[in-house]
């Protein structure tokens, strides 16, 4: 009996140690302990034994059961440790395999910059306005103090829209400034507004000229608005765009709808000694601006004795090109995925 048990135990131990998985181990364990299994078979035989043998046989079966249980537990633990070790070994992982491509789309870089600016200005109390791209000649020029035959019209090569005879002439807006006219018609001073959007110029395209591009107009009207306010606001704007304080320079610039009119240059944020962005001058021409011309305020129905205001323009396309180092403006609207995917 003793040797029979020892053989059984040895047989199980051999099978346990060669079991490759918890599942195999589990099936061996069931063989030992389930109904009709080895241990149950032994215990079932006990009643049929001589009474004198019964107690010993029962004890021996239970001893075998305990021994097996302990061995199975050890085997399970061994397999669990082996599994952990296997997993830790990491298989044939190669850290230099290129990353699989994740599917993602993109927002156009103009959208990204425009949103940043909208958020920046909204945080400073500006409303975001929109205006038509096919605009009345009156709003694009006349109401902005650019009369017919004004030489300033030459600087803005204009697309003229076919208009039925007798109708007011229409243009593709050459700047976002006509939104000023519409803003003044709809908003009561004091107000602050920006108007980002598409503008058009009838000109031959090359790497730095495009017949369709994006601008953002800004307009502030209130009591006691001065050039000092304009400079302060532009500094805040540039700080928002470039994430740090930027030195600015204000010099005269001529735009018929402002008086005085300026070009605001920013100290080139990309270099110290001059680079291709600033054409080696360390200044970049960024923001045409000025106090709103009294004629323009009047055309907007605003009392020029009580209110004054300033307006500014920002080239969104230009800002995008500067930010990303884009060398050719025509990439922006070409719709080439090889370009768009990069943003």
């Amino acid at each position: 009996m003793q040797s029979e048990h020892a053989d059984l135990l040895a047989g199980y131990r051999a099978r346990m140690s060669s079991a490759a998985s918890q599942e195999v181990l589990r099936s061996i364990e069931r063989e030992a302990f389930d109904k009709g299994g080895t241990i149950a078979g032994m215990l079932a035989k006990v009643p049929s034994l001589e009474p004198s043998e019964r107690a010993g046989a029962g004890r021996a079966a239970n001893e075998l059961k305990r021994a097996l249980e302990a061995d199975f537990a050890a085997a399970r633990e061994r397999l669990a440790q082996a599994a952990l070790e296997r997993e830790r070994s990491g298989g044939d992982f190669d850290a230099t395999l290129p990353a699989p491509k994740a599917r993602r789309g993109s927002l156009h870089p103009l959208t990204q910059v425009q949103r940043e600016l909208e958020d920046l200005f909204t945080s400073m109390g500006y409303e975001v306005l929109d205006g038509p791209e096919i605009e009345l000649e009156r709003n694009n020029f006349d109401a902005l103090n650019i009369a017919k035959d004004h030489p300033a019209r030459d600087a803005m090569d204009t697309f003229w829209v076919k208009t039925p005879p007798g109708q007011e002439r229409l243009v593709l807006r050459t700047h976002t400034s006509p939104v000023q006219v519409r803003a003044m018609a709809h908003l009561k001073p004091p107000f602050r507004a920006i108007a980002p959007g598409k503008v058009f110029r009838q000109e031959t395209t090359d790497a730095s000229h495009e017949h369709t591009f994006h601008q953002m107009e800004g307009l502030v009207v209130g009591e006691g608005i001065s050039v000092g306010n304009l400079i302060g606001t532009m500094q805040t704007l540039l700080q928002g765009i470039f994430g740090r304080a930027i030195e600015v320079r204000l010099r005269p610039g001529y735009f018929p709808f402002v008086e005085p009119g300026f070009e605001l240059d920013a100290r080139c944020p990309f270099c110290k000694q001059g680079c291709s962005v600033c054409k080696r001058s360390t200044w970049i021409e960024l923001l045409p601006c000025g106090l709103v011309h009294p004629r323009v305020l009047e055309a907007g129905g605003i009392d020029i004795e009580r209110y004054s205001g300033f307006a500014f323009g920002l080239g969104l396309s230009r800002l995008v090109m500067m930010r990303h180092g884009i060398e050719d403006v025509r990439h922006l609207l070409a719709g080439d995925l090889r370009f768009l995917e990069q943003f």
Binding site: K148, V161, H211, L291
Partner: protein, 828 residues
């Protein structure tokens, strides 16, 4: 426009001020300077030499061997090919090592066996015009051994000004105007300029008649005793510096005066004019004139002509005529100094694409008082300084037109409140400082009757356009004070929190959803639509807004919708990539129609602009494994997710009605989404595959064979829909629901929508979710039938559903299926 530093120095003392300094100060106070460059830089690199001897070259007839003293060391031996080289001449010598151009460095060389240690230069080689007939013969007084630029006082810098920044400043279109600016900036006086006319001879004045309102003034001066020829060096070099080619002394002096005082003028050869004199009149339709550049121009009544009697001899303010121009043998002249209507000149010049120095100045509105007489006097005095024999042979004719479109320029007075200057600029300048600045600019300031105001007198040359009202003077003070000296101030006002606007908020969410979740790339396209693309899409017949002057032939139409722009991008993008997913948020432009009022219209004539979201998806075709694969179904999944992403229920999708699909949409494989179930609800979204012939026309065949779907959503309608559609929230039931999978075998013609409705009815309001998970036809399904399998979740917010509820539902559904001509095929 180019201005010359040396030229400016004729009008104002610039000692101690470099050209760069002048440019920097003009930038900060006056206008935009584009560049500063040294004029003819070679002049500083070549040396004044003295030709000591000249021998014939032993082996070449046309070459000379010269010994040239350059003031240092031994004389140089130089071989020269010019016919005019001779002993005794002062010449410009480029020594060994001098570069006359980036790729032209003088080397010691042997020319036909004779050593040559340098080059004797012609004017052309030094950048002084076209003269290459021989070497440049320098003034005998030129200091030996000095750089030529210094010896002849030719050192100069060219300051290039951006013309756009001078649009409002007619006075700055001549050097004297710039000198006046510098005088204000540096507080240095202008040098006097003699513009008085010399005594006139006794001949009869030249007859002039003005017959057009576009001419306000016409002065004619008869000059005699001129001898045409090459201009003196000082004049040629000044003209060359500002990019003007010297022609001959008469033309050069005329140009010089224009570039000096901004007043264009014209010299006629007296012999070519008729005795009837000059008539200034509007052109007649069909009249022709050959201008100085040799081109015959067809004229229109809007053009203004200078005529000799009946015969046109010049296009007023733009260009003279070929026939009456001065010649080499001209001695008697008629000088025209006139004032023309700016817009008339501008229209003619731009119609004929003939922008000249003269027209550029006239179109800025030059003063018609003080300036013409000054220019006339300046021209006569300048010519006399070169040719003392020139004389004024008759009294000056000075016709003034009282009926002219532009009245005679008067000195203007503007009332100014110094307080207004302080308020608008935001500076603390006192009244005296403000007056001082204005005086530096040549404006006279005197007290006004009203307290707090002063009177400012504006001279003629500034009064035509630039300085006409109070705020213009604010700018004058600001720019001379320097805008950079104005202290920065914060905007102090209560901020009313602005709304970003409903449309922007929606658009941002849609963009994010498409770009970040659905893997679409956003593009922004041109608003123009090529005729060729319109034809391919079959929409060439639709009315489009059009521009009159497109950038290219066939590119005049403005798109009505965003989708055609996107479709135009498919072929090129498919060439570079397999899976093309693009979207655009942009405008469509509907041509004006009476029933379509514009957005925030200020006129009924405005075209309507619509905001749209367009999507396209193209990829190589692949076999469908499941009913919900394929580009149309997958795009549908993307689009159907958009409204839920906005927190709203999806649109109601169904077949399109007649007229709802664009011509390029597949006639059957298309659907539309509406904001509600009402039978007349407008389509907010259109979703379709491409019309098969359009797909071929777009080149998406062969290697680029693609399955293509597109969607167009009206953002304007979507904005209304978002407001109208219910939010998606359902209370979370505390009673568990039951899941039932059902399959309905129905005739294929029965739309899925009917099956869905049947399930809704059978569920009696308890259907919490119905999801189609399979569409099947084949073995076990009757011919002409298909099986639609759904996951259905039944849920009651007031009680736990039991098995009997499920049985009742299935019983009702079986009846519904029979009603649709099919059966409830499976359940689980």
């Amino acid at each position: 426009m180019k201005i010359s530093y040396r030229w400016l120095a004729r009008h104002i003392d610039l000692s101690g001020l470099s050209a760069e300094q002048v440019a920097a100060d003009l930038t900060l106070s006056t206008c935009e300077v584009e560049s500063v460059e040294r004029f003819a830089p070679c002049l500083s690199d070549v040396t004044v030499g003295h030709v000591l001897t000249r021998e014939k070259h032993p082996d070449a007839d046309k070459l000379s061997v010269c010994s040239v003293d350059i003031g240092q060391g031994a004389p140089l031996q130089i071989v020269c090919g010019a016919p005019n080289v001779r002993a005794g001449l002062k010449v410009a010598v480029a020594t060994v090592g001098t570069s006359l151009a980036p790729d032209f460095k003088i080397k010691k060389s042997k020319i036909r066996g004779v050593e040559s240690c340098g080059m004797i230069c012609s004017e052309r080689e030094l950048g002084l015009g076209e003269d290459h007939e021989g070497i440049w013969e320098l003034d005998g007084a030129a200091a030996l051994g000095q750089p030529v630029a210094a010896a002849l006082d030719l050192a100069d810098f060219v300051i290039e000004i951006d013309n756009k920044s001078l649009t409002h400043r007619p006075d700055l279109w001549g050097h004297r105007g710039f000198a006046r600016e510098l005088s204000a900036i540096y507080q240095r006086p202008l040098k006097p300029l003699d513009t008085s006319l010399p005594p006139a001879g006794a001949l009869a004045p030249f007859p002039v008649r003005i017959e057009s309102k576009a001419c306000a003034r016409f002065m004619a001066l008869c000059l005699e005793g001129a001898a045409n020829g090459k201009s003196p060096l000082w004049l040629r070099t000044l003209l060359l510096a500002v990019g003007q080619r010297p022609i001959d002394v008469l033309v050069d002096v005329s140009n010089f005066v224009m570039l000096d005082l901004a007043q264009p003028n014209h010299l006629f050869d007296r012999r070519r004019l008729s005795s009837e004199g000059i008539v200034v009149r509007d052109a007649r339709a069909g009249e022709r004139l050959t201008t100085l550049d040799g081109i015959e121009r067809k004229l229109e009544p809007a053009d203004l002509l200078i005529c000799a009697g009946p015969k046109p001899i010049g296009l007023a303010g733009v260009m003279g005529g070929e026939e009456t121009k001065v010649a080499s043998d001209t001695t008697a002249l008629v000088l025209e100094v006139a004032s023309f209507h700016a817009a008339t000149i501008r229209r003619t010049a731009s119609r004929l694409a003939l922008r000249t120095d003269a027209s550029a100045r006239f179109e800025k509105t030059l003063a018609n008082r003080d300036l013409p007489e000054a220019a006339a006097g300046h021209l006569v005095r300048t010519l006399q300084s070169i040719q003392p024999a020139v004389r004024l042979s008759a009294p000056v004719t000075d016709q003034r037109n009282e009926q002219a479109l532009v009245a005679a320029t008067a000195e203007l007075s503007i009332l100014l409140r110094p307080e207004r200057v302080r308020k608008l600029l935001g500076v603390a300048l006192d009244d005296a400082a403000i007056s001082a600045i204005l005086k530096r600019l040549g404006l006279a300031v005197s007290p006004a009757d009203k307290p707090g105001w002063v009177q400012v007198k504006i001279p003629c040359e500034r009064a035509t356009k630039d300085l006409t009202e109070e705020q213009d003077l604010v700018e004058e003070v600001g720019r001379i004070h320097r805008f950079g000296n104005i202290p920065t101030r914060a905007l102090l006002e209560t901020i009313r929190p602005p709304q970003l606007g409903a449309r922007r908020a929606i658009v941002r969410k849609l963009e994010d959803r498409l770009a970040l979740a659905a893997g679409f790339h956003q593009t922004i396209s041109y608003s123009f639509l090529a005729d060729s693309l319109r034809a391919k899409l079959g929409i060439e017949g639709l009315p489009h807004s059009e521009v009159v002057n497109p950038v290219a032939e066939g590119l005049s139409a403005m798109r009505r919708s965003v989708v055609p722009s996107l479709l135009g991008l498919l072929e090129s993008n498919r060439r570079h990539g397999q899976d093309v997913r693009l979207f655009e948020v942009g405008k469509g432009y509907l041509p004006y129609a009476p029933q379509e009022a514009g957005i925030s219209p200020t006129s009924s004539a405005e075209p309507k602009e619509v905001h749209e979201l367009g999507l396209v998806w193209a990829r190589p075709p692949k076999a469908k494994q499941r009913f919900d694969e394929g580009v149309l179904a997958e795009l549908h999944a993307v689009v159907a997710d958009l409204l839920p992403a906005l927190g709203r229920a999806d649109l109601v999708w169904g077949p399109a009605r007649t007229g709802e699909l664009p011509a390029f949409a597949h006639p059957v494989r298309a659907l539309v989404g509406r904001a509600d179930k009402a039978p007349d609800a407008r389509a907010v979204a259109v979703l379709a595959e491409l019309e098969p012939s359009v797909r071929r026309a777009l080149g998406l065949v062969g290697d680029l064979d693609s399955e293509v779907a597109f969607a167009a959503l009206s953002i304007d309608d979507l904005q209304h829909a978002v407001a109208a559609l219910a939010t998606r929230y359902h209370p979370v039931s505390s009673f568990p629901g039951i899941k039932v999978d059902v399959a309905l075998a129905l005739p294929s013609a029965v739309p899925a929508a009917d099956a869905l409705a049947a399930i809704e009815r059978a569920a009696k309001g308890l259907a919490r979710g119905i999801e189609l998970f399979d569409v099947y036809s084949g073995p076990n399904i009757a011919a002409g039938h298909r099986s639609l399998a759904f996951h259905v979740v039944l849920e009651d917010s007031s009680k736990t559903l039991e098995d009997k509820d499920r049985h009742k539902f299935l019983e009702r559904l079986a009846k519904e299926a029979q009603g649709l001509g099919g059966e409830l095929r499976a359940e689980s």
